[in-house]
Amino acid sequence: MATVEFKGKSFDVDEDGFISSFDQWNPEWVEYVKASEGISELTEEHWKVIHVLQDYYRKHGIAPMVRILTKVTGYKLKYIYELFPSGPGKGACKMAGLPKPTGCV
């Protein structure tokens, strides 16, 4: 497992650059990832998506399904792709520090 150092913080990341545990997440992580995710500037809308993901994860131990994410944020899937070019799973979840869903998905 690789380790990333950024602004005095340290993160363990997997092969796809997801942090290995949500406990390691902090706002610096978002700043670190944004460039590789093709995001030039973080807006309130980015943060809204990240916070919705994290709130759901804290409560349920898993990322929300895409349909719940679009409903709670009020953003259409297409718009979420505009905010996070790699999409809700690979982009937004990665920035929010959530693990990738596995199985028949």
Partner: protein, 539 residues
């Protein structure tokens, strides 16, 4: 993650390799192998030799007695499974299977010919377990077991989706999937698996399903669909969870609960059960139909399968209905009875609506939702309006395991043709028992393997393209959760403009429910044919 080449860049090279196959090593280039199983997941499954390792590395950190472990493991498998010994001995290398594998067609790599894939293991068997191999060596097709052989096994046994198309064409009926299964079983003895297999299996051990959905989250997700159905047609369905004394336990892959487009199929199940007043329950413990244990080893498969029956016993149901899952049906139909059966505490399934006795499930006590629905339709118990699917022009992908694992060909087509007006089958040599794999089954549906998935899915996509071009097909239906997840990117890659759906999503669209409001959209919130101008709220 490996960059996925464009379709035009996936050039095929069917040229002869430069060296003999025994002297050709696999090239672990990104996109052709899956990430190794993480130690934490192996530990959960109590699999041996959990460690960090990486396929492209020279040193795989094998245990010092690895050779002994493999020989002992193979000896054990040969004793246990008579089929394996026959498959090892009987092949005459006729080549009938060679061009039947989707991975061979899509990659041009000779070691993806099923005969040669089997030979990777057979050559070791010959050397260690046959006199001819011991004496004659290479002349008899035998070779020494080396670390390179183990690496080659890992590369090619995780480039086989265990779809069994090749076995349909084998004059001896050699089941290459079972050879791959044994190959993976042996690799597991050395701690070698992929994370996309052991991760879900470990989740299933801990939380009851591959996604790791905890009980309260599972309930929350199903209840989300209850609201969504009400938004489409005003009917409020009332599912129950872990209810003792229910007549039927319903189990579907957790992918249906979480991932689009499977979630719409799940809405179809909820609507159907509500409309016929079925006395059934969901379980938040047996909350997975799939069985990634099948892709790990026999022991893990057995444990994961046992959970479904343990829950049926605990709840006191009469029998189980299984959802639109693929490999679950291979496990249930081919292994369950001798592995965890007989399930004599359950009853032979009888439809409470039609009285039909499902004799075919006499031993497993588990029926497929599509046969259950086909029986309802056949007996005129459902009010259906197929015109609500008129915006779809549908074809059907026979999911490998229900098709070749249980001969399930006609029931899905019967249901589809009763709920849709536009249906066109793909060419005969690509459907039913000859169906082409999605290219991502058996736990290979992970993103870092995308190039091989697109290569392996090419024959299936080609057949879809044919009906797309000829008949204007725009919707590919299927009865497997892996299919629903992986055919979507496959279609976007090879045949843009074709969507993917489960059969019960189509049923949910067509089902006329008591007390429903006028439908203007399908379950996805897309306008029905002729309703495009009506202002629809987003659902």
């Amino acid at each position: 993650m490996a960059k996925v080449p464009k379709p035009s860049e996936l050039l095929l090279d069917y040229a002869l390799p430069k060296a003999e196959w025994m002297d050709t090593k696999p090239d672990f280039r990104p996109g052709t192998w899956c990430y190794p199983g993480k130690a934490k997941n192996l530990d959960v499954l109590q699999l041996p030799h959990a460690r960090e390792w990486n396929p492209p590395d020279e040193d795989w950190k094998l245990p010092s007695n690895w050779k002994e472990i493999i020989f002992e493991g193979l000896r054990d498998c040969l004793d246990k499974y008579r089929s394996l010994r026959i498959f090892m001995d009987v092949c005459v290398r006729c080549g009938a299977c060679a061009d039947k594998c989707h991975f061979y067609i899509g990659s041009g790599d000779p070691k993806n010919m099923p005969v040669l894939r089997a030979e990777l293991l057979r050559s070791i068997y010959r050397k260690e377990f046959t006199t001819a191999g011991k004496v004659l060596g290479k002349i008899a097709g035998a070779r020494e077991l080396t670390e390179d052989v183990v690496k080659e096994w890992f590369y090619y046994f995780f480039q086989c989706t265990e779809c069994r198309r090749c076995s349909v064409f084998c004059p001896y009926g050699i089941d290459t999937a079972e050879i791959t299964i044994i190959g993976r079983e042996l690799l597991n003895l050395l701690g070698l698996n992929i994370d996309w297999v052991v991760g879900p299996a470990a989740n299933c051990f801990m939380n009851g399903n591959h996604l790791g959905i905890q009980p309260h989250a599972f309930k929350d997700m199903i209840e989300f669909f209850v609201d969504e159905i009400e938004a489409v047609n005003g009917v409020r369905v009332e599912p129950t969870f872990n209810r003792k004394g229910a007549e039927i336990l319903f189990i579907t892959p957790s992918g249906d609960v979480f991932a689009d487009p499977g979630t719409y199929t799940l809405m179809g199940y909820l609507m159907l059960f509500h409309e016929i007043g079925l006395d059934y329950t969901w379980s938040t413990y047996a909350s997975e139909g799939g069985n990634f244990g099948l892709f790990t080893n026999h022991d893990t498969m057995k444990k994961l399968n046992a959970k479904m029956y343990a829950e049926a016993k605990r709840l006191g149901v009469k029998y189980i209905i299984g959802g639109e899952c693929g490999h679950m049906w291979r496990v249930v139909n081919q292994y369950m009875d001798t592995m965890n059966g007989p399930a004599d505490f359950l009853e032979v399934p009888v439809s409470p609506i039609t009285g039909t006795v499902f004799e075919n499930a006499r031993s497993t006590k588990m029926i497929h939702i599509v046969e259950f629905t086909a029986d309802l339709i056949k007996n005129g118990k459902l009010k259906l309006d197929p015109s609500r699917n008129d915006h779809h022009n549908v074809t059907y992908h026979d999911s490998c395991n229900p098709a070749r694992g249980m001969g399930f060909f006609d029931e899905p087509r019967y249901v589809i043709q009763n709920v849709c007006n536009n249906f066109h089958d793909m060419p005969p040599n690509t459907i039913r028992e000859q169906t082409f794999c999605c290219g991502s089954g058996s736990g290979l549906n992970t993103d870092e393997f995308m190039e091989m998935r697109m290569r392996g899915g090419l024959p299936r996509a080609n057949a879809v393209r044919h009906v797309h071009d000829k008949y204007g097909v725009n919707m590919l239906s299927t009865i497997c959760a892996i299919d629903r997840a992986v055919l979507t990117p496959l279609m976007d890659y090879w045949v843009p403009g074709v969507g993917v759906t489960g059969v019960h999503e189509l049923v949910g669209n067509a089902l006329v429910m008591e007390g429903e409001t006028e439908r203007t959209t399908d379950l996805r919130g897309e306008p029905l044919a002729g309703m495009e101008d009506i202002e629809n709220e987003d659902v």
